[in-house]
Symmetry: C2
Subunit: 356 residues, 2 copies
Amino acid sequence: MTDTITLSVDAMGGDNAPRAVIHGACLLFKEHSNARFIFHGRQELIAPLLEEFAVLKPVSTVRHCETVIAMDEKPSQALRKGRGTSSMWMAIQAVKDGDADVAVSGGNTGALMAMATFCLRLMDGIARPGIAAIWPTLRSDIVVLDMGATIGADAQQLVDYAILGSALARCLFDAESPTVGLLNVGTEEVKGLESIKEAGRILSDASGSGFTYHGFVEGDDIGKGTVDVVVTEGFVGNVALKTAEGTARQVGSYLRTALKSNLMSRIGALFATSALNALRHRMDPRTVNGGVFMGLNGIVIKSHGGTDEIGYKSALNLAYEMARANLIEKIGDTMKRFPIKAAPAATDPASEAKPA
Amino acid sequence: MTDTITLSVDAMGGDNAPRAVIHGACLLFKEHSNARFIFHGRQELIAPLLEEFAVLKPVSTVRHCETVIAMDEKPSQALRKGRGTSSMWMAIQAVKDGDADVAVSGGNTGALMAMATFCLRLMDGIARPGIAAIWPTLRSDIVVLDMGATIGADAQQLVDYAILGSALARCLFDAESPTVGLLNVGTEEVKGLESIKEAGRILSDASGSGFTYHGFVEGDDIGKGTVDVVVTEGFVGNVALKTAEGTARQVGSYLRTALKSNLMSRIGALFATSALNALRHRMDPRTVNGGVFMGLNGIVIKSHGGTDEIGYKSALNLAYEMARANLIEKIGDTMKRFPIKAAPAATDPASEAKPA
């Protein structure tokens, strides 16, 4: 590991780019002075921002790209148009070339995943990429994947997610053998899809080699933090994440309404201002911003496109931590420890891969 | 409709049966004096409770059943053992025989669904049953189905859920043409499983006949209340519901911790006691207890097994309202209005039916 961590940043990705991106980088640098940046995008837009956030200037390089991938572009279009030329592609390419340790973009998820897979290629032994979320729970943060990189997964792909998720958990939580659960509609062994039951059998046999297999978990086990890594296919993972976000906003709204409901509650809210601010911070989705692309020969972090500098700082910070913790090495190590690799996948009609 | 509404109640279903069941019935009767009860279960256990909740005695009948279905019994076992003899079966049978308007049980979901389907049979034109949840949202309550009656759904089964859910929404919300959304991983028409896209085309063509088709919705649209009816297959619906329950508990726990964090916040919480109690009541899962079995020739309501008298009262109240609103008739009416029925289902590998 070098003394510095270099982040390759798509400065044009997201609704508030490039300002929020550069501002977020500035916030990260104030915490981590060994961070270095390569910003990809329009020179004429980025240069003035580096004058404004002048502390970044000595630690940043700008690589000019004319092409910017739109938020609504289809992955195939984006690849045709942006391969080798767009800020998104060049941000990833810098990781491939060894110029940077990690790439970050707030651009269109489908396009970013297509480009990252095309440019960095899948790791040996991994059939499909995944997107992992870091999910705050009552116990601690946990890893949940896949968040929608692909739809459907057969048994072997779920096992791959378990390996990838375990490696990520080892980086994040410093746990030697993180616990892994398969998301299902019940915890009994007889329930659920054949693919999940088969993955459970494979993981149960391999438990102890870089992770500890817990068994099936249900939706409410995510918020409880029952396990360190929750494994599911992309459709379910995506719906679960967004449903949880929606519920958190809903409860937050209930609370605001309740505290405004009468004079006494308004007075109470005044007394509790600092506690309520701490709660607001804890529930702020910007503080847990960042999806980790898993299964590729390089680290790519996806930021929410609609976020601000606080959100970008979180995504850049996640990228920084993943690079510092040597995520790719840890994945390789976890894969090597896994005793049985590529057992023939169970034939499950629900598991055919489809692009999200 | 008769002046009275008769509820056929499995008095033995759930962890706190029969006490919590009878107590819950007593709470319902205090609000709805035209409710009548048939309790199925062990005479020797139920009789003393009717002495205790004496107001129920003149409006209740007890039908003795020796057999009780255990919470962990497999549906097939339960059917073999309990058909024609168990309190669960007999509660459903009374609806079939016309002795009661609706059946309620807090017993094992799989067994209850198997017995209800076997006893009441599927409605003409419906291929599979579903379980609908009444989901509180920022706008108002909405209907979400399927919650896990079955796993996977092809396009036609999703369309059936849309019809069934619309009828339920018409009963609950008095809306003439409820809005319907298909749960997906994106709102663009190109995204998601083939079965969902095909269902979207069918519903779009039929929009206006008893419901208004909104389009695709995402997980966070549930909590927002974007539509009156959210349609999804059972695995995803089950995970979404449990994830939302887990998130609500998590945020509630964050709030309690925050309000205890310092002296000022404790004082604030004292001032806001009545508002916080109202919030607690609003978030109390017992107040929205009850899954509605859909697609059968009779109404069956599933209560959470682990709930108390407040929870049972909610489930019984839901049953009472469904019977009073003539749910079965409204479903028939919605089906009749639907212009194209039983279009050949799209071949989708992800849609093969599997028992949950």
